[in-house]
């Protein structure tokens, strides 16, 4: 009896020892700042004078008076509907294509994958150059074949499509995931479908899709979560296109042109670190937290369903 209890105690101590880095990490770098963010969302605090209680005033300010909040939310919705959908479709298409390519497969796989590795700041600056309305190669080529030349990152109705192109360029992660899942589809199901007289589209519709649907769901949900975190690309695109750039000290009002590239994470920086409105920044952070957790809930459910199946 005692030995059993001793064994149990020893196992608990061992588990705690293995988990200790995480226990400290999650407490200091997640739970404590989360509680603290809730606290600051009810406080007026500029980082210098001591915080004072303001009740719901920060919340009220963000939802009714802060001019950037609703545009950022609308942009996020646009990106979820258009960018995430196109990324999943394009990733699936490129994944399908690469499984069909027979000659030069290694070259194509590398070519399709490489842009995903380009550091976001570098990739965004490169696209700001490629798409700049003055001397950019893209408009240059569009003009020479008589097509209209949009203002891309300088035009509020084209800035999000331009960001979408940048996101499609970096499709490598989804390509690899779709490629692996397509190769996992049992070959005999295709053969059986062919014997039943199914054409290419029907084989895709009734064999491929049902087999890879969990991966499609995974791609959609992680895509939505990534959209909640979308920060560097819209910020850099706005900075470069507006000409306001140059490191520390330069104040940049995010969202150029005309709030069309605002996303929620940028608002945390704008309120907290440019306007020293800790309370307002905390409110945005909590909205962001709630949204991220809702979609993480979806993700966890889809993952547990998949491992149960």
């Amino acid at each position: 009896m005692t030995t059993l209890r001793q064994k149990h105690r020893r196992e608990t101590a061992r588990t705690l020892a293995f988990l200790s880095p995480w226990l400290i990490g999650v407490s200091v770098f997640f739970l404590y700042p989360l509680v603290s963010t809730v606290y600051f969302s009810f406080m007026k605090y500029d980082g210098f004078t001591p915080p004072t209680w303001t009740g719901l005033r920060n919340w009220q300010y963000v939802f009714t008076d802060y001019p950037f909040f609703w545009p950022a939310l609308r942009n996020t919705l646009w990106l979820v509907v258009v960018m995430v959908t196109l990324r999943v479709l394009f990733g699936l298409g490129i994944g399908l294509l690469i499984t069909k390519v027979k000659t030069g497969a290694g070259f194509f796989r590398t070519a399709f994958y490489l842009p995903y590795l380009a550091p976001p700041v570098a990739a965004t600056m490169a696209f700001a150059f490629l798409l700049n309305p003055g001397t950019g190669p893209v408009n240059n080529i569009l003009g020479s074949i008589g097509l209209p030349q949009p203002g891309w990152f300088n035009d509020p109705s084209w800035s999000k499509p331009a960001l979408t192109m940048l996101a499609l360029w970096g499709i490598g992660d989804l390509m690899v995931i779709f490629m692996a899942s397509l190769l996992d589809v049992p070959q005999e199901q295709y053969e059986a479908a062919s014997l039943d007289g199914a054409g290419a589209w029907q084989r895709f519709r009734f064999v491929t899709l049902p087999n890879i649907s969990p991966i499609v769901l995974f791609a959609v949900v992680t895509g939505v979560i990534q959209t909640m975190q979308y920060y560097t690309q819209p910020l850099i695109a706005g900075k470069v296109a507006s000409g306001v750039i140059g490191g520390a000290g330069q104040q940049f009002e995010p969202g150029y042109p005309e709030k069309s590239t605002l996303t929620l994470p940028q608002l945390v920086y704008h309120l907290g670190f440019q306007r020293f409105d800790t309370g307002g920044a905390s409110v945005i952070a909590l909205v962001l937290f709630a949204l991220a957790m809702v979609f993480t809930g979806f993700l966890m459910r889809s993952m547990t369903e998949r491992s149960a199946a």
């Binding site: 608990t12 999650v26 842009p115 490191g247």
Partner: protein, 294 residues
Amino acid sequence: MTATAISTPVTLTPAARTARRTRLLHWVGVHSLAIAAALFFVLPFVFIFLTALMSDQQALTRDLWPDSWHWENLRTVWETPGFLTWWKNTLLYAGLGTALTLLSSIPVAYALARFKFRGRNAVLMLVIATMMLPPQVVIVPMYLFWAKQLHLSGTLWPLIIPMAFTDAFSVFLLRQFLLTIPKDYVDAAKVDGCGEFKALVRIVLPMAKPAIAAVALFQFFYCWNDYFGPQIYASENPAAWTLSYGLESFKGAHHTNWNLTMAATLLVMAPVIILFFFAQKAFIEGVTLTGVKG
């Protein structure tokens, strides 16, 4: 192709000929699409490269092809004050960050994959939740913590130190891989008198090499690419800037000179791409592991 065409026409039935023609058309269709897609993925790199080597004057025009090749642009960028410091800082952040992440995350991932304990599912859920969390959610209190209490703003330490206390994504990915290692190996080692920690180091780690390589690469790239972290903690002190953060100030210093900006962009992209060619397999395996083997 020609050889078979000469020797076989007599023996081919019309049905076989149609089948062969369909296959050929299919081949042409697939590869044309692939070439079109490859242009979309590769051309941006080509234009960056060509512009990076243009003269200052030509970079202001709509020309696509350099009149003369100015390889010295790359050196000009390299010798820009600060550029070398950003390199060193980036290597420090990425190198130390990756090492600390591995050291701290492996035991946690092992415990989650192997030990049975109360609250294990709760821990796993918290790991996934923090993995999906935008860093901006907790940045306000974190900044106050590092800047006001520990006086470490203006350095990269607020970004490096937390990695000694695990990274959620690395824990998750390693755990997924460790689940696939049969329990028998560890049990056999324990029969031979190994403790749990010894079994982890001697038996499990060598088998987990592909996953460890993937995690190391992902973490290295994460640090290399990070913009938000250095923006928050290092922006006030140019001596602590990283490449990803310094790159944008480069555009400011050279105004409309796209050639030098593109040369700098190229120099920031190059190491990541070279690293990829050396570690291609580990990389692709890692991406697959995150998505498919949930």
